[in-house]
Symmetry: C2
Subunit: 121 residues, 2 copies
């Protein structure tokens, strides 16, 4: 199991890579067979190609991510963070939960937000 520090650093790297505009850098934080369920309740994407396409589209919206509170670890191979995505005048309030492989790459991501978490301004 990766250390708490390794997992939190990967979560921060995700925010930074997303904001740098590199879908490839974000995708490289995932293991090859990882799943992405964003938002929770939508069909899960699986694998590098699908994940890269997803982030290419997400980043193309111009979205920028800001943590709302410090990243949380766990007593297992998972961590969670609350952040806001700002897309022009739209703010989306999200909590992401990631699980990790031994090398500290994400094996799954689940993004919790509902229609009511999308706000103008």
């Amino acid at each position: 199991m990766p250390s708490e520090q390794t997992m939190k650093a990967a979560m921060q790297a995700y925010i930074d890579a997303f904001n740098s505009g590199s879908a490839l850098a974000v995708t490289n934080l995932y293991s090859p067979e990882a799943t992405v369920e964003d938002p929770v309740g939508s069909p899960a994407l699986r694998g590098r190609e699908a994940i890269l396409a997803f982030y290419t589209g997400s980043i193309a919206t111009g979205a920028k991510l800001t943590l709302d509170a410090p990243i949380r670890g766990s007593h297992s191979n998972s961590a969670a963070m609350a952040f806001s995505a700002r897309i022009g005048a739209l703010t989306v309030r999200v909590i992401d939960v990631m699980t990790f492989d031994e090398s500290g790459r994400f094996t799954s991501m689940k993004a919790y937000f509902a229609p009511g978490d999308m706000l103008q301004g």
Copy 2:
């Protein structure tokens, strides 16, 4: 599936019931066969008796909970929230993820926090 509003109201009721000091009120927010994994990585508790005992102990510490950001919903039967638990001079930064039954009661709770999320002051 309960509405986003119902799930968020139940999450807020959890915070309020905990802070009111009533372990029974917290437990009544759970379905009878619910599970509690607090923190994630510890053995899950299952069922009303175990959950009541857990909250009786937690509330006896004097802990009080404060949301760190607005509660998030999802596009499924789950919701998540970032909060801090203050226990005397100790602050524990937590993200809770709940799943729900049709009537809006919690069927599972997972609490994400690591040793490094427990801070003095």
